[in-house]
Symmetry: C2
Subunit: 248 residues, 2 copies
C-alpha cells in the first residue's frame, strides 16, 4: 500500500530579513515532535524564503520609467508596481487587468510573482533571486541538522491558461526528481505510455499548497512523508523553453 502524509507547520514566527529558515523549521519540527526521515520533502512557501532573503522593496524609493507609467495606466496598477514588474521580467506577454510576464528566472506568471499580500504596508515582495539555490542551501542546513537525506521545494502559486484558479508550482527544488522522464516505460499491456514526462515537482507543490492556504492561515511549511521522489532535479527543469512550447 502506498501512502503519503503531508503535515502543515503552523504558528511559525513571522520571518524577517536575515532569519535562518533552517533553524526556524527545525525548531518547529522538534516542538511538534516530528522526526525527519530519509526522502522526506520540506515544502516551503516562497513568501518566507523571499522575506528571509531580504527581497522586500520599499515602494516610495522606486522611480517609475515612462513605460511603467504607461503600462500602469493600461492595467490599473501603480507605476511603482509596474516598474518593479518590468525590472523582474525578460518579456511582457500580456497587459490587461493582469500583467503576465516571463521573469528573468523563466517563470511565466502574473506580476512577475511580485506580491503585496502578507507584506508590510508600503513594501512589495520580489521572488527569491535564485530559488533553486535557496532550496539547495536550505536542504544543506536541514540535512546537516537531521542527518537525513531530504528534498526541499520552494512553492509559489501560478494561474494558468485554459483552467481557472491558481495551483501550487515548484519554483525551486533540491534533492527531488522534479521532472520524471518515463519515455520507454510500459503500460500493463507492455505498450508505450501516453504521458511520458511527469511534473512531480509541481504536483508535490500543489499537494503542499492545499495545506498552505493563501490568506492568514500561516502554514508556510509542509512536510511530505511516505513517498520517495528523491533525485537531483531542480525547479528550472520544469521550465518549458519558448521553442518547445506549442502555445508560444
Amino acid at each position: 500500500m502506498t501512502a503519503m502524509q503531508s503535515i502543515g507547520l503552523d504558528n511559525l514566527p513571522l520571518v524577517e530579513e536575515g532569519d535562518d529558515l533552517a533553524l526556524i523549521i527545525y525548531g518547529a519540527l522538534c516542538e511538534k515532535g516530528i522526526a525527519l526521515e530519509d526522502t522526506d520533502i520540506i515544502a516551503v512557501s516562497e513568501k518566507i524564503v523571499s522575506k528571509a532573503e531580504g527581497r522586500l522593496v520599499k515602494l516610495d524609493e522606486i522611480e517609475p520609467s515612462d513605460k511603467a507609467i504607461e503600462l500602469g495606466e493600461k492595467s490599473g496598477k501603480t507605476p511603482e508596481d509596474v516598474e518593479l514588474i518590468l525590472r523582474e521580467s525578460k518579456e511582457i506577454l500580456h497587459v490587461g487587468e493582469f500583467i503576465v510576464v516571463e521573469t528573468h528566472h523563466g517563470f511565466v506568471c502574473a506580476s512577475a510573482g511580485i506580491d503585496h499580500s502578507n507584506v508590510p504596508e508600503g513594501y512589495a515582495k520580489l521572488l527569491p533571486e535564485d530559488p533553486d539555490a535557496s532550496a539547495s542551501k536550505l536542504r544543506g542546513s536541514l540535512e546537516k541538522k537531521s542527518g537525513k537525506h531530504l528534498g526541499v521545494l520552494i512553492v509559489d502559486s501560478h494561474g494558468r491558461p485554459f483552467r481557472r484558479g491558481a495551483i501550487g508550482v515548484a519554483i525551486g527544488a533540491s534533492g527531488i526528481k522534479t521532472l520524471w522522464d518515463r519515455r520507454g516505460d510500459e503500460d500493463i499491456f507492455g505498450r508505450a505510455l501516453k504521458v511520458t514526462r511527469v511534473a512531480i515537482g509541481d504536483m508535490l507543490a500543489s499537494a503542499a499548497s492545499l495545506l498552505m492556504g493563501e490568506a492568514a492561515e500561516r502554514v508556510p511549511v509542509v512536510i511530505i512523508k511516505g513517498v520517495d521522489f528523491s533525485g537531483d532535479g531542480a525547479g528550472k527543469d520544469l521550465l518549458r523553453e519558448k521553442g518547445e512550447d506549442v502555445f508560444r
Copy 2:
C-alpha cells in the same frame, strides 16, 4: 496541526465495461481495513471510469475522413486516431507532434484525452462522456454504502503551456469545492490577497496523481483524508472560458 493523508488502492481487479466501480472500490477499502469518514475524497483515474462506461472504441471500425487523413500525415498519427480526436473535439488548437484540442467537454489537452496506454491492442479509449455526472453517480453509490458525506474526483493528466511535464487535473468532481473563491479574504496584515481563486480540485488531483503513477503501477484510486474541501463544485468550474483567457 493540519495534516492530509493520501492512500493509494493498489491491486484492484482490471476494470471492464459495465463493472460497478463503487462496488470494486468499496470492496478494496474493506479488504484493506480503510474506513471512509465524512469529507474523505475518493480520487479515481479517468482510465477506469472510461473503461467501466464502455468508452473503448475498436480502431478498425473507424472510417477516417479526408481531414483526418490530412492531419494524420501532418502529425504522424494514424488516420483512425485523428478521426477519433476530431470527433471528440470542438476546436483544434495545434497540429504538430501533438494535436492539441478543446474537447466537447471544454478540456484543452493533447489528443482529446484519447489514450492507448493500458488499453487492449486495437482499441482506443475516449474520456468519459460527462465526467461530472460520472463523479456524481459514483459519489451517490459510495455515500449510500458508507453512510458518510464524501467527495469524488475523476483525475486525468494534462500537459500545459510554459511548464514541462504533465500534472493531475480534475476533469470531473462531486461534493468538492473545486474552485475556491477567496475574493474578499484578507492576509495577516488585513489586506487583499494576491491569489483570489484557488484550483482546489486540480491540486487534489495532482496530490492523488503522485500515487497513481502513469504506467503499470495499477493504483487507479487514491483516498484523501484529513482535509475538508467539501462543497458543491464540479469539474467544469475549473474550465476557463475562451473570453476570460488572456492566452487565447
